[in-house]
């Protein structure tokens, strides 16, 4: 190529550089608003939101490739924790127009934290399973079919566990107060460990 090295690619890899070569396609999109919309929709896509944007005038294939390349570029840039100047340089080496460079760089910088969080979350899927959500409900058992008055309170705990495979698992448990205390103490231990690893 031009001989300039990409900051986002370390080590020589022609294949990657070829992929980046497609970033030029951005130049074919006229109007900075559209470029902005495109880059933001790319970031949204990375963040797990799909928002349909109509780019049909530029040909489906081009847009699709551009979309993919941009996604690769963005995630790479964020994964390397590059500064804005480096991003600009990378885009320059990829022969993108100056206006578009600015827009893209601004968009990436402005949503840096979101992308980073999403990437780390994706990364955490290498672990076996994780708790993603929970829901609870208090119930008071007044009586049963045999006993007239029981008056015992139980907690229905609904844990959503992500195994990073096909589906999330819904775990529904009924806990008495004792059980709940035990569970909570365990969770506290877990939390202390997590806290010790948190920056």
């Amino acid at each position: 190529m031009t001989g300039n090295k990409y900051h986002s690619i370390q080590g020589a890899s022609n294949q990657q550089e070829l992929l980046y070569g497609d970033l030029k396609l951005v130049n074919s999109i006229t109007g900075q608003n559209l470029v902005q919309t495109l880059i933001h929709s790319v970031i949204d896509h990375i963040c797990g939101r799909t928002i349909p944007v109509d780019f049909s005038i530029y040909g489906l294939q081009t847009i699709r490739t551009l979309f993919e390349r941009l996604a690769v570029f963005v995630s790479r840039v964020v994964g390397r924790e590059l500064k804005r100047e480096q991003i600009v340089e990378d885009l320059k080496t990829a022969a993108v127009q100056d206006d578009s460079i600015n827009t893209i760089a601004d968009a990436i910088v402005s949503r840096y934290q979101d992308i980073k969080r999403e990437l780390t979350e994706k990364l955490s899927s290498i672990s076996s399973s994780s708790l993603t959500d929970f829901d609870w409900k208090m119930n008071l058992i007044l009586s049963s079919d045999k006993i007239n008055s029981v008056n015992e309170n139980v907690l229905m705990l609904n844990l959503t566990i992500d195994h990073h495979e096909e589906k999330k698992e819904q775990l529904l448990v009924e806990l008495s107060k004792k059980d709940l205390d035990q569970l909570l103490s365990q969770f506290e231990q877990i939390n202390s460990v997590v806290q010790s690893l948190k920056i």
């Binding site: 902005q36 933001h40 797990g48 690769v72 995630s75 790479r76 829901d135 007044l142 009586s143």
Partner: protein
């Protein structure tokens, strides 16, 4: 769980079905109602209001029986009905409440009533002294009422039946059997009447009495008596058991119906026996029913009303107790008052006392009026009330009692005379409707008389509805609402949600509804916005509103909650950590953070490396991905060709590789196993090969590396040798240059040596100079450093202390907060009677009055005692002197004749004096009577003075003027009409 809750509700349903428990529940409700609506009930039932007798909580059940004494109550009621047993049990269970409500009722109204009573009677009567006596009295009268009513009823029926039988008579259906006429007797008899068609009873051959009886069929005496007795019984039972008291007791109803049926059956049996025709029986029934109804009403307050168990005698006893001026029994205090009057018979003071008592009652009335929102002057008394104020006050009372009736009336008394009369009569009518029993019409209000006004106000005061604490929406706290909702939902029986009557929302019982969370992005102002150039643009153009950010609209609320909670929780965790660990490390927060991140990073790297070593090192790709992982954590230094997505691809490739196995899963187990085995073997052989190759390659590599190292070492050595040789060469070259003129050079060298040594000495001296301050400075700095570290340590210790103190204080504050909440709870739990202030004021007022009265009584008692003493001493001295004189005279009489006459005359004088004393006593009693009579006359004159003639005349004049103006108007109109 869901099943459990179902069964709960089912059991509840069963409970509802069980009439016994249900009944007891109802009872308890009834008790409560009575407490609350005491005043409303009392409007129908004068007895309740009376402090004498009825325990109001029992009233609804056993109105006739419940007379003060609870033991009697129980005995009587046991015989009556099983239902009562339950009630009694309940009563036993909570006698507190019964007593309480009784006490409250009497307390509420007693002061007012007593005072007014006293006002009317003119002396202090503590009504409690009467209670046992009166209750017995009432019981006796009460039984009398039943017996008397029954006797009257029977007597009246018998009389009527007998009289009508005598006058009308008529033949019984079976008269011919009684008469037994024979052809002979017919021939013998002489026919009478029209065309000689009729015979007299001469034709009969039967028994004379029998025949006479057969000729008196109209009306039926049996039917009449049966009807009168049984209907009376029915009425009595109805009054006692209160059939239609919203309890739905079929048994009572059937019992009363049986009485009626009995009466009917007796009549029917008479028809069946051919003793009477239907007409006879009908008249008998009519007479009996009319007599029983009328006599019952004669002896009781009503036939079917709520007060139908109260006998007239009972009512009048109560009434007299309240209003009469004549009391047959005088309590002790009355006697004292009368005694006192005998002594000083000072009418002025008497009337003053009278007024004093009235003022107490007035004070309470005025207080109530002010509470009701009537604007009254500070100095005003009831005596000063004119028509306007009375109108306003009555309106204020009635607005509270019966809003609807007085809604049309104007707030102030109208100027127009006719309108005035109209509105006053409306007021009077409403007051009468509320149950006011004395005479009342518009003129009583228009020309107010102090006694009437007072009585009206007292009556209305008793009928004020007890202001319940209806807190309404404004004051009812959320907690109460929640409690109520929970209580009601617990009481509600369970129904499946698909039932048409269910109020529940479907899904309320299941846990199917999940609150899922989606990440939110909320725009925020601040430094971040200024620093990043594209952010504002993003916020404005591309960020969607929050409610569209989650993929499901249901998730919006949970997401927002989650967003807030996570921020809060993170901040808290951080704070916690800083408090527990950070502060002890003695670092800045920033430094601490940096330190921590460093340690974490190193830990992570270590753990990942160790995992790499442990794991299959053959998988180079994996190695790379882990390197990448390290790179992701902040450094970005990993040297690999595979990035995030390459890694992902690697994973997907693996998955793809594993996928082809699945379709084969349909083959038999053995085959699969075989194939697997083969594959494993293949793979293993390949693996071994690879491992061998790997080993070979590594060994080769090692060899090569060793060779390279050896060569490098050789090169280094040679380089070193070369450098040494070059050095030697340079030195030798210079020496050769210097050797040409050795002498000169030597001298120069010596000079140079000397110069350098001198300069060296100089420099050392200078160095000494410079060195000293530097050393001093160094020492100083060292000392300072030590001090600083000491200070820092002490400061850290102090910080620790302060932290401990803060913790302690926080604990204190929490404890206090808990206490506060507890106290608040208790405060909430306490009954909120907004009325209390009013009642307390009233009570305070009455207590004050009582104190005053007590003081008066004490003073009077003291006076009486001193007087008694004086009288005693005087009588003693008189008797003694009398005796002494007697002795002296007797002693003299033996000697002297004149002394004897003196004795005689003395005896006569004594007798005269005795008669004089009795005369004085009599005059005293007469004076007493005269005094009471004058007081009565005063009272009556005051009462008769209702129509103030002057005012009436004035009003008459105004009316006349009005009439004249009206007539003038009419005339002018007529004239105008005529002209037209």
């Amino acid at each position: 769980m869901v099943e459990g809750s179902e069964s709960t509700d089912n059991s509840n349903n069963e409970n509802v079905g069980n009439s016994c428990i249900n009944d007891s529940n109802n009872n308890s409700i009834v008790v409560n109602n009575n407490e609350n609506n005491n005043n409303i009930n009392s409007s129908q039932n004068p007895m309740i209001n009376n402090n004498i007798d009825i325990d109001s909580s029992v009233k609804d059940f056993m109105k006739p029986i419940s007379i003060k004494n609870e033991d009697n109550n129980l005995k009587n009621s046991v015989e009556l009905k099983p239902v009562y047993k339950q009630h009694q049990q309940q009563q036993k269970q909570n006698p507190e409440t019964c007593k309480n409500c009784h006490n409250r009722i009497s307390n509420n109204n007693n002061n007012l009533k007593n005072n007014t009573n006293n006002g009317n009677m003119g002396y202090d009567s503590s009504s409690d002294n009467h209670t046992p006596f009166l209750s017995l009295d009432i019981r006796r009268r009460y039984r009398v009422a039943i017996v008397l009513g029954l006797i009257q009823s029977f007597g009246l029926t018998l009389l009527l039946v007998a009289v009508i039988k005598c006058f009308i008579g008529g033949l019984r259906p079976n008269f011919l059997v009684r008469c037994k006429p024979t052809p002979e007797s017919l021939a013998r008899a002489t026919p009478v009447g029209f065309n000689q068609l009729y015979y007299s009873k001469e034709v009969c051959t039967g028994d004379e009495a029998d025949i006479l009886d057969g000729m008196a069929a109209y009306p039926s005496g049996h039917a009449g008596l049966a009807a009168c007795g049984l209907v009376f019984l029915a009425l009595f039972l109805h009054a006692r058991l209160k059939t239609f008291n919203n309890r739905g007791h079929l048994f009572i109803y059937v019992m009363i119906l049986m009485c009626i049926c009995g009466a009917v059956l007796v009549g029917v049996s008479r028809i069946v026996d051919y003793r009477h025709t239907f007409g006879n029986v009908l008249l008998g029934w009519t007479i009996g029913v009319i007599c029983s109804l009328s006599t019952y009403r004669l002896n009781y307050l009503s036939l079917f009303g709520h007060d139908n168990h109260i006998s007239v005698a009972h009512y009048w006893v109560w009434y007299w107790k309240q209003y009469s001026t004549n009391t047959t029994t005088e309590p002790q205090s009355v006697k004292i008052a009368r005694h006192l009057n005998d002594f000083n018979s000072n009418k002025q003071s008497y009337s003053n006392r009278n007024r004093f008592k009235m003022d107490e009652a007035d004070g309470i009335i005025l207080l109530t009026l002010r509470d009701l929102g009537c604007e009254l002057g500070d100095e005003i008394t009831i005596k000063d009330f004119d028509a306007e104020i009375v109108y306003k006050a009555c309106l204020a009372y009635l607005r509270v009692i019966n809003e609807a009736k007085v809604a049309n009336l104007t707030a102030t008394i109208p100027k127009n005379m006719s309108a005035r009369v109209n509105s006053c009569s409306v007021l009077a009518a409403t007051i009468r409707e509320t149950g006011y029993r004395a005479e009342l019409s518009y003129h009583n209000l228009l020309y107010p008389n102090i006694n009437d006004v007072r009585r009206i106000f007292v009556f209305l005061g008793q009928h004020l509805p007890k202001k319940e604490v209806v807190e309404g929406d404004s004051t009812a706290s959320l907690k109460d609402l929640i409690c109520n909702h929970l209580a009601s939902s617990i009481k509600e029986s369970w129904m499946p949600y698909f039932c048409p009557f269910t109020k529940r929302i479907p899904g309320n019982y299941s846990t199917a509804k999940l609150f899922t969370v989606a990440p939110l992005k909320i725009p925020a102002r601040g430094r971040q916005l200024k620093l990043t150039p594209g952010l504002e643009d993003f916020y404005i153009k591309h960020l969607r509103p929050i409610n569209q950010q989650p993929n499901r609209t249901d998730d919006v609320a949970p997401s927002v909650f989650e967003y807030n909670l996570s921020i809060y929780a993170e901040a808290q965790e951080r704070e916690n950590e800083w408090n527990t660990k950070g502060s002890q490390s003695g670092l800045n927060p920033l430094e601490y953070k940096k330190n921590k991140s460093k340690t974490i990073l190193s830990k992570m790297n270590d753990s990942i490396r160790s995992a790499m070593v442990d794991g299959s090192s053959a998988d180079s790709r994996r190695n790379n991905t882990f390197d990448h992982v390290i790179g992701q954590f902040g450094m970005g230094s990993a040297d690999d060709d595979y990035g995030q997505f390459a890694r992902k691809k690697a994973f997907t490739n693996e998955e793809v590789a594993s996928e082809p196995i699945e379709p084969k899963a349909k083959e038999t187990e053995e085959e699969r196993q075989q194939k697997q085995q083969e594959e494993i073997d293949q793979l293993q052989s390949v693996l071994e090969e690879l491992a061998n190759r790997m080993a070979n390659a590594t060994s080769e590599m090692d060899d090569w590396i060793q060779q390279i190292r050896q060569l490098e070492a050789q090169i280094n050595e040679e380089d070193r040798k070369r450098a040494e040789l070059e050095k030697e060469y340079k030195v030798k070259k210079k020496t050769f240059g210097l050797l040409e003129n050795a002498e000169e050079n030597f001298a120069k060298l010596q000079e140079l040596c000397q110069q350098t040594s001198a300069s060296l000495i100089e420099m050392s001296g200078e160095w000494e100079k410079v060195r000293r301050p530097i050393i001093e400075k160094y020492r100083q700095l060292k000392d300072e450093k030590a001090n600083q570290s000491d200070e820092a340590k002490s400061k850290v210790e102090r910080i620790k202390e302060i932290r401990a103190l803060i913790k302690k204080m926080i604990a204190d504050i929490r404890a206090k907060e808990e206490l506060f909440t507890q106290l608040q709870d208790t405060y909430k739990a306490m009954p909120k009677d907004t009325n209390r202030s009013m009642y307390t004021r009233r009570i305070i007022e009455s207590v004050k009055n009582i104190k005053k009265q007590k003081e008066d009584i004490d003073r009077i008692l003291l006076d009486t005692r001193t007087l008694q003493k004086e009288i005693n001493t005087i009588t003693d001295t008189a008797v003694r002197t009398f005796d002494a004189v007697k002795d002296m005279l007797y002693a003299d009489a033996k000697k002297d004749q004149t002394a004897k006459t003196a004795i005689k005359s003395f005896a006569v004088i004594d007798e005269k004096f005795q008669t004089l004393l009795t005369a004085i006593d009599e005059t005293g009693t007469y004076q007493n009577n005269i005094f009471t009579l004058t007081s009565k006359i005063d009272y009556i004159s005051q009462k008769t003075n209702t129509l103030n003639t002057d005012r009436v005349l004035n009003d008459l004049k105004t009316i006349k003027a009005e009439n004249q103006t009206l007539i003038a108007q009419v005339k002018s109109k007529m004239a105008s009409a005529g002209s037209n």
